[in-house]
Amino acid sequence: MSDLLTIGASGVRAYQSALTTVSENITNSGSTGYTRRTTGLAEVPAAGGLTTQGVAATGNGVQVTGVSSAIDPLRNAAVRTSGSDLAKTEGGIQWLSQIESALSGNQLGDRLTAFFNSAQSVAADPTSSAARATMLESANGVAGAFAGTGQALDQISAGIDATADAATTSLDGLAAALAKVNDALGRTQQASSAAAQLTDQRDQLLESMSAITDVSVTLDAAGRAAVRLGGSNGPTLVAGSEAGAVTYVHSASGGVSFAVHRAGESATFVPQGGALAGVADGAQRVADTRNALNTIASNFVDGVNAVQAQGVDLNGALGAPMFEAGDSPTDISMVLADPAGIAAASVGGGSRDNSNLQALATVRSTGKYESGLTSLAANNAATLTQRQTVANAQGAIHDNAVAARDSSAGVNLDSEAVDLMRFQQAYSASSRVIQVARDTLQTILDIQ
């Protein structure tokens, strides 16, 4: 009867473990990155060859073979890849919509139109100081709008730098944490609750990294992750318990580059996904928009100043320049302060002449400043719209990947409730076995 007692005791022990795992699943059903765990149960085999009255001996109870975690590496990889793609597109959208606000926020196009139209009022009444003052005020508005738009673009560029710095810093932190997890995984017994906890942490770190840049992950037998950036041939960021660092450089021409420094070596990589790819995309977009705006600003200043130079002002003197560009072509300042200084008349035309303002109207139609700005904003908006469509599709792909992963790895409270009941009953039944064993033995002991 002693083996009945052993069997009952093994059942109590095993189902206690199983109940612990189920409780762990229930309490962590809301924890991010938690993977459903199961307790492996197996029969303890009978010792070979022992027979009782010619019948093979029954087993010796149940034992816990380990705690396994419902990890599916392929589905995890799918979540990472789709997450990288989505983060790249969303990063790009963030910068493109900021560019859109920068281009429209200062109403540069409206102010250019107002400036050229104020010149028409001066043409109607060339000696009117009110009309001239209005035109000078409009010119001031244009100068301010150019400067404001340029500064807004510069701020986006600064925002991109700040984002990239923050992203590389957190990537470094994630890499260092992953190296520690790798180290711990190497020293932890496999198929244990501790190992399951570590792999959960590893997968969560990898998912966070994939939101920053695309990662190529290879796992060894112990579950340690080796991470390469920028494709499967890119530089290694984490191998074993050693992690590298990522640096970011924004060149003056607007291009960005990233490099991994690890084990005394440095190698550049081009991120294909994640926020870093969005940063690279955004930086290029801002630089292109800035160049186009600079060209429009320079042409505008040159065009208006050339018209001024070929006419005479209200006092009969040759027109002085109206605008002056600062360090940046969009840092336009007014150098003409006197409304009488507007060169409305052609040389020899007299004070009531307005023919030089017709030259300004010609500069407006040949310079195409307003339509240039409109198409600059329209091109940006077209890209933005297209990216938003792509982001919607990528969002759906990512959602599906997460759903597929969670259908195997996530915790469902109803199934846990069923398990809880099952193991609780098995636990009670095992306790009953112990009692029966005791009662049976007592029957023999009671023989007098």
């Binding site: 409206d110 000696t127 409109t374």
Partner: protein, 302 residues
């Protein structure tokens, strides 16, 4: 497929969030009455709207120039009408002077009358317009005509007044120079109305046989009267052109507004229907979420 509990909550949350965002977008479209507020809302429509806004601003500037030009032309017309009256008085005096029964004293009185007509003509010629500029000013000069110390009237400036922009590449000459209005080609060559009146006054003042001088003055005053009539005709024609241009701008503005409204304005009926649909789906989602989330096996474990 097993739905994990946290996935169920995440999914429901994101579904309700996106429905709320959709409802908010439609609400913003209804309250602002604009379905295109940023370029990325509808690139093609936005680009067209920019063009329309620019054309509207341009036309507003042209419309104010047109109304200024119209007021200048109206002033020109009324001033020319006063000038005609003065010339008609001069013509009457010239006809009276041709009467042989008049004495030299009578003619001297007429000469005085003619001189005051001349002064009146000079003051009419130097009328200021709404801009504070000489109405009949040339391209240059602060006044239209100036009177010398010898009483001789001369044109102050040269050239024709600059055209006023009233449309894309279109200009109109809203005023005429004194040279164009008062210059007359007479029987004795190029002259002007002031000189004709002055010459007749001089002849009547001098007395004696004035018949030749009066006869040529009558002819010249007739030419001057024709000249002013022609100038008024030209002013009227330009006024008519401006009226046409103004009504063209108005039609263009109406067409533009129709187009802008089609591109930019929210179709309130559609938007409200869409909002109602979104709200119904959102409420249904909330209701089904509440029902599903209240279902738990744990409720039955006693």
């Amino acid at each position: 497929m097993q739905i994990s509990t946290s996935l169920f909550y995440d999914r429901s949350l994101s579904a309700m969030t996106s429905l709320s965002a959709q409802a908010d977008t439609i609400n913003a479209q209804i309250s602002s009455n604009k379905k295109v507020s940023a370029a990325s809302d509808d690139v093609v429509a936005w680009q067209q709207l920019q063009g329309l806004a620019q054309a509207k601003a341009d036309d507003t500037a042209y419309a104010s120039n047109i109304s200024l030009a119209q007021s200048l032309l109206t002033q020109s017309d009324s001033t020319l009408s006063s000038i005609t009256t003065q010339i008609q008085q001069a013509q009457q005096l010239a006809l009276q002077a041709s009467n042989g029964t008049l004495t030299d004293a009578d003619r001297a009185t007429m000469a005085t009358q003619l001189r005051s007509i001349g002064d009146e003509l000079v003051s009419l010629a130097n009328t200021k317009d709404a801009r504070g500029q000489p109405l009949f000013g040339a391209a240059t000069g602060d006044t239209a005509v100036s009177v010398g110390t010898d009483g001789k009237v001369s044109f102050a400036g040269t050239g024709t007044p600059a055209g006023m922009p009233i449309g894309n590449g279109q200009t109109i000459q809203a005023t005429d120079s004194a040279q164009q209005v008062f210059g007359v080609s007479t029987t004795s060559g190029q002259s002007d109305i002031f000189a004709i009146v002055g010459k007749l006054a001089d002849a009547l003042q001098a007395g004696g046989d004035v018949s030749a001088a009066v006869a040529s003055a009558i002819t010249d005053l007739g030419s001057a009267s024709d000249q002013i009539a022609a100038a008024r005709g030209s002013v009227g024609a330009r006024g008519a052109r401006l009226d046409l241009e103004a009504s063209r701008l108005q039609t263009a503005a109406t067409d533009r507004e129709t187009m802008r409204s089609g591109l930019q304005d929210t179709d309130v009926t559609t938007a409200i229907t869409e909002l109602q649909k979104t709200m119904t789906i959102l409420q249904a989602t909330q209701a089904s979420f509440t029902k599903l989330s209240s279902l738990s096996l744990f409720d039955y474990l006693k």
